[in-house]
Symmetry: C2
Subunit: 356 residues, 2 copies
């Protein structure tokens, strides 16, 4: 049976990424050795890393003056690494979801944190707006997409202090005006690569302003000077990232990705809004095009498990909602084909016909 | 042409590890999805992680009261994470090589470090001995094998304070009396898995004694409570680690690994000692069975590049010595077959016949 992979992350990746990575694990570049078995200091691997950086810069139109890093660990390590490098006096954070909350918690180990807005009281069902950014803060931190709650910020903010974004779950899903950000970072395991690598896009002039001694392994400047190889990088994940970045480029870039993602999301939200048995959980204007969350209408709540079983039997994978929201969630990352959304919508309609 | 992979790391892995990992990247457990595309919170992946931990405990005879973690990033992150968790007043370090030196440098960001012995003055050509361990230090840190300089400590030390070991480059190469250690850690990319994951074996009672607030992502206790999944783990690397651990188990365990490694190392050292044109760099009693370093005898130094080319033409890979030592280095990790050492020795003998 054909599986439709709606996992929230780790999640669906382009087929070519998986095929090429599997090949390189058996024999890299016809070397007779695996990409797992060669030094990261070889010309062959350096070419992979350099091409991944160059392709990232190209597809996201990253301006001059920015560096791109691929670092071991995930976004959770960046929650700490980021303030270590740029939090001097005070940092401002938007609390838009569980991951924003974790980022805040971790930054507090480093220095003073001001939460300028939060939607926690509404179980993060909307994206905080109309907040005032303290002009004396070192930076404003946002989470561009909230994987768990299905909300997303749909614009690149204009703020007077350096803007920093965790874009783990919507990077490459749409064009971004990178020039508006000082740092964009994220775990790669949604739209880029297998779990185990984080990307960090840094405007170089944001660094070098803090007083503290930064431990070497947490020091962005040191990683920039060493082209992401201060220590041994996660080579397989970076190789996979390159395959995905090339796939994005060859498939019309982030403009086309956005078009496809909007189309997929619109289809699913339309069905949720039409349905008698389902309803969406996120405020309409803040709905994410990456993670769609919905629950049963009140009178059908008892059918939740039955729908999950019904959908699973039809090949839907990963649509159980996160425990913080309940109900259902479908993640529509770049690599998810439209046909999977069509199948999910059909499945929702069939179930409604049986039950309502 | 058959390649003989003597890379120092990332380095040769068992063929079955690579084959099974490549398969799981295409289709994991017949699920129709890649291991890169499923949640780490699924039963299928949790089974992988649990089996990797259990097999590690079994093959290394890890006693009760210890936890085994697989964490994103490599040993370099542990250089910081370790003192964050257990350095309270003062730590004692043995400076036995470049990696020990990096561990010392990183620990100094956390607290007071006393270097109780160093072989730096002799370019780390021997393993420091006869040192006095300060009894008021929180722990003594050693590096069991020095990848760059080809020295190794061949016993499990008896010390009165907690003993901590970076065993990145000789883990699973020999039996260890784990009960003598408080923590054994390392990057996995020599004897276990592709780069991108570190292992940490922790005696649970060593934790909880420091005063500082430990950032979540650097907190061993939090990772223990979350079974290595406080954050998304590097799933592919952990899957590969499981394949290697099973391979070790099925191939006679660490006792057999040690036997094979000793045999391989003896063959190569015997040739180095016999040869008129080569000589070893490490003190005989401290020679590593994992990384063998040698240089040209003085009158043949001009032939260094010629020998490298000669060996490369015969399929030898990765035998150029690290710039800190020069000459040559052959890494003989568990997965390197004896036939590769036979081929290297033949190649050294042929070259000698041509030149001496």
């Amino acid at each position: 049976m054909k599986k439709h992979n709606f996992n929230a992350g780790p999640s669906i990746l382009p087929k070519i990424t998986l095929e090429n990575t599997a090949k390189a694990i058996l024999d890299f570049n016809g070397s007779g050795m695996s990409i797992a078995e060669i030094s990261h200091r070889t010309k062959d691997f350096e070419a992979v890393l350099n091409e991944a950086v160059a392709t990232f810069k190209e597809v996201l139109s990253i301006p001059d003056g920015y560096s791109v890093l691929f670092l071991g660990g995930g976004a959770s390590l960046q929650f700490l690494m980021l303030p270590m490098n740029i939090l001097n006096k005070k940092a401002a954070y938007i609390d838009s979801g569980a991951w924003a909350n974790k980022a805040i918690k971790e930054a507090k180990f480093v220095g003073e944190v001001v939460v300028v807005a939060s939607s926690k009281e509404a179980n993060y069902s909307y994206y905080p707006k109309n907040f005032t950014v303290p002009e004396d803060a070192d930076y404003l931190h946002i989470t561009t997409n909230n994987t768990i709650f299905g909300t997303q910020i749909h614009e690149d903010l204009d703020v007077k202090i350096p803007l920093v974004a965790d874009a783990s779950s919507d990077i490459l899903s749409r064009p971004m005006d990178v020039s508006k950000y000082a740092i964009i970072y994220g775990g790669a395991q949604k739209n880029i690569a297998p779990a185990g690598v984080a990307f960090v896009i840094i405007r170089n002039d944001i660094l070098g302003k803090v007083q503290r001694n930064i431990p070497s392994i947490l020091n962005y400047q040191l990683q920039i000077e060493n082209d992401s190889m201060y220590n041994t990088p996660p080579c397989i994940c970076i190789y996979a990232a390159l395959q995905t970045l090339k796939w994005v480029k060859e498939n019309g870039g982030v403009v086309e990705m956005q078009k496809r993602n909007k189309e997929k999301a619109s289809m699913l939200y339309a069905e949720i809004d039409r349905s008698k048995i389902f309803k969406g959980t996120a405020k309409a204007e803040d709905r994410s095009i990456m993670n769609v969350c919905w629950v049963m209408e009140e009178q059908y709540v008892a059918l939740e498990k039955e729908f999950l079983d019904f959908a699973t039997a039809k090949g839907m994978v990963g649509i159980k909602g996160h425990r913080s929201v309940g109900g259902f969630r479908a993640s529509l990352y770049n690599a998810l084909p439209k046909e999977s959304v069509v199948a999910l919508v059909e499945c929702m309609q069939e179930f409604e016909k049986l039950k309502a």
